[in-house]
Structures are given as structure tokens and as C-alpha cells.
Amino acid sequence: MLSDLHFAVERNEIVGFLGPNGAGKTTTIKILNGLAFPDSGNVCLFGEEGGMRAAARRRIGFMPEQPYFYEYLTGEEFLGLCGHLNGLSRGEIASRSRAMLGRVGLDAAGNTAVRKYSKGMMQRLGLAQALLHDPELVILDEPMSGLDPVGRMEVRNLIRELKGSGKTIFFSTHIVSDVEALCDRVIMLHRGQKVAEGTVNDLVGEEGVRFVEVTFSPVPPRGWLEAAGIPAGNGEIQGGTFLLRAGNVDEANRWIGKFREAGSQVFSFVPVKKQLEDIFLEQVSEKGGRAAIGGRGEQEEAGDGREEKRGR
């Protein structure tokens, strides 16, 4: 069930829609595309209310989660159908189909029936059909799902290229590393509600330091270490250095002063920051839920709830 969900996507942004399975990501995306209807609220696309209208959809490219195609068509025939439905001319369809198939690495499989495609090839064809008509806004539902590491890297690169060519990209995922690698902004969704929104840096924050690792060299005398009162488990000798874990920067600075007095110098200073995944898990656990992050293949649970959302 979606509830009290507001967000905006600015032009030429990559926005990640992050949430565990069943959070309502796919339902939200279906509402954006006019495939589902909110009980209340509205979608505003390209600055105009009533985003489900055909004029707005002409400017959107959409790839559903684990897309299925007409198995009896070849990749090129399917793109031809999509092109016709988007109002492209025959010439545009022919040239853009070839270009898109090449762009997603399916140029050799254009004349192969879709039923012979692997899962990864289907995903690539899904991307090709979403980009065929040169949309301004690209909405992708779990675009990396089912891809091998090479395929995932290619999709990431493609998304970056799209941003480079001025497109706006909104994609859902439950894989945090995809968001960290790609997104200008993140919207976190859990149980149909937005739990956080911002850039990765905003969300992780300056105060997001989990602990600080400081190494000192040379290692101070054993007697001094025992007398210094370093909490158990927070320090250890590693070769010719001593590794100390301080809870925060201030504590680390205090220890640095003490170690210097003992004749030991700072060899390295590493603040270990929180990862987006830590933030996400915190948000989810605060809401009392269980997160299924990084899994794949699960279907979104379709909530029967209400929705209010603003897109651009």
C-alpha cells in the first residue's frame, strides 16, 4: 500500500528508487505510466497534470521488470511494432531499430525470434524498446535484474551515457550498489512510504562516520599500551604498526596526542563512513520492517493502497 508519497525528479537527473521487495516500487512505476490508478493524489509529468495522457507517454521510455515479449516476433520486428505504436515513420523505425540493437549489444540477434533469447538478451531488448523513440524521461523497473556482472556494467554505462545525452532517468532497484554507483539522488521506499530522499552524500552525511581507524608507527612499548587503557578489541599490533579503532574523530585525535607523547607517529588515518546500505537498513529497521536487499527475481507485491506522487 502506497501512502503519502511525494517526490519530484529534475531534468537530466539519475534518480534511484530504492526499496526492499514489496515496498511498492513497481506499483509506483505503474502509476507513473498510467498502468495503475491511485486512489487519491496525482501524477504531474513534464510540468503538466494528468501524466497518463498520450502526449506525455510519447516522451517516456519504459522498461518493466523482467520484460516479456511476443515470442513469435524477432527482436527487430518487435522494435518495429513499438516504433509504429510510438508514431515513428518506417524510415525512423528501420534506422533507430538497428542503432538501438547495436547499442544494447543485440545487433547480431535482431533477426532471431525472441523465444530464443536468453534472460539477459530479453533485458537488453527491453532497454532497446524503451529508448527506441528517443524519450526525454526513461523509467526502468529493476533494469539490472537477471544480468551477469558484465551485463550489469554495460547497463550502468548505458544509463550514464543517457544522462550524458541529456535524458532523465528514474529507475527502481533493491540493489544498493547500483544506486551508489549511478544516482544523483536516491528515494528510499519502505512499505509504501518514502523513508529517505537525497544524494548519497546527503544520506550518508558528515556525521555518518562509523569509526576511525588510525595506525601508528613505531609500535609503542607493550607496557605503555597496557597502561594506556585502550578498550579491548579496539587495538592490535599489525606487523610494524599499531591499529587503533576510535569511535569518532575527536576520540581519534585524543589518542593521537597520547601516542605522540609515547614517541609514536600517525601512519594512516581512515574514517570509515557508513555505506548507503547501512543507512537503508537503519531506515527500514526504524520502520519495523525486514529488508530483502540484494536479492533478485522476486515479484513486487502489488499493494491495493492509495498513492500520492509528483513527478516531472
Binding site: 498520450a54 518493466p64 520484460p67 515479449f69 511476443y70 499493494g303
Partner: protein, 256 residues
Amino acid sequence: MGDRILSIASNTFRETIRNKILYAILAFALLIIGLSWFLADLSVGELTRIIADVGLACIHIFGVIMAVFIGITLVSNEIERKTIYLILSRPVPRWEFIVGKAAGLCITLALVTLVMAMTLFVTHAGYGGVWETGILLASAGIYMELVLLTCLASLFSSFTTPVLSAIFTLSMFLIGHVSGDLLVFGARASSAAMRVASGVLYYVLPNLENFNWKNEVVYGEVRSAAVLLFPAGYLLCYCSAVLFLACLIFSRKDFR
């Protein structure tokens, strides 16, 4: 608009023409039409009538089976396979999708009916030595009925499951061939309310007997093509109403 409907219809035609069940039913129908030759040999009296009678009944029954059982899956298959998301997320109004799907199946049924009708036409001529054009006219009537059933199947499949759609469409097929009786029996009712109700039902339910002139063909009362005019008008009006309703329901369908 026209291009998009044509694209959807053409894609539906490609889909339905590849349906193996369609070929199984067609093969069975052609076999029975062919066998009517031998059936006529075993009969007494007007032998060519047997061929026309059996053949037209065969075209009718197997055509209905094809229209109903392919028609009810037209929309549900798209939803089940999620291919509908790739169509409706484009600038395609939902009514164009419904009309395109129904049109695609109608093209397939036209082809299949034509194959069956031509087989019967040739079989009949081969046996009796007469080119009976009434067979083609009667087949045109059957085809019109199939178009109407396809529209009804599209309507039912826009809001319910394939099984219920099949039950509803087959019920309409059965009722449609006796709906004329509603008017006759309703007129004899003592209650005015019953007379009004039977009249309303008569006009709401399809009258498939409007497309049935098989007996006239069998008994040699060959009609001119003018006989198609009234049924064609009726078909146009009825199908427009049914498809309008289907589009209305489908336009609010939520694909969560």
C-alpha cells in the same frame, strides 16, 4: 490512430494465426467437410443438400469454437504475459488496444472461414456439378456471427477470467439463437411487466438468427448479396455498442 490499431491488429493476427489449436480445429473441420462427400453417398434423396447442410453446420460450430476460445484469451494472455505493459505504456489509448485485438482476431477468422467455405464450395460443386454461391453467402452470415461473438468475448475478457468469459460468451451464443422466441413468448405473457422485460431483453441480447440463412441455401433458395445488408447494419450497431462497453470497462482497468 489508424496506424496504431492496424499495428495491434496485425500483431494479433500474427499471434492467432500461429495458434496450434486453431490449426487442429481447422483440420478437423476440413476433414468433416471432406467426409460429407461420403456421407452423401450413404444418404437418399437430395444428396448435395447433405453436403451443404453438414458443411455449413461444420463451419458454424468450429468457427464458434475458434472465435470463443481464442477470443477469451486475447486480452488475458497479454495481461498474464505482461506484454500489455509494453503496449499501454506507449501513447496508445486503451480503446485502440481493445479494437485492435478484436480486429486482429476477426482477420484470422475471416481467413479461416474463407478456407472452410471454399473447401465446402469445391466439395459441393465436385459432387453435384453446380457452383452453389449460396454456400458463400451462408458462410458470410456465419462469419458475421463470429465477429459478433469475438466482440462479446473481448467484452467479457476485459473484466473477468478466461473461464467465465468462455461461459458468458457461449451462453450468449446459445441465447442468441433463441432470443427471437423471447418476443413471441413475451407477447403472450399476461403481465405487462413481463411483456416489457421480454421486449427489452430481445433488443439487448444478440439475435444471431439475423445471420442464419443456411436452410435457404440447403433448400436451394439462393439469395442475392442484398441479404447481407440488414445483418451487416445490425452487426455494425451491435458490435459498436459491445466494443464501446468493453473499452469503457478496460479504460478503468488497474494493472497492479
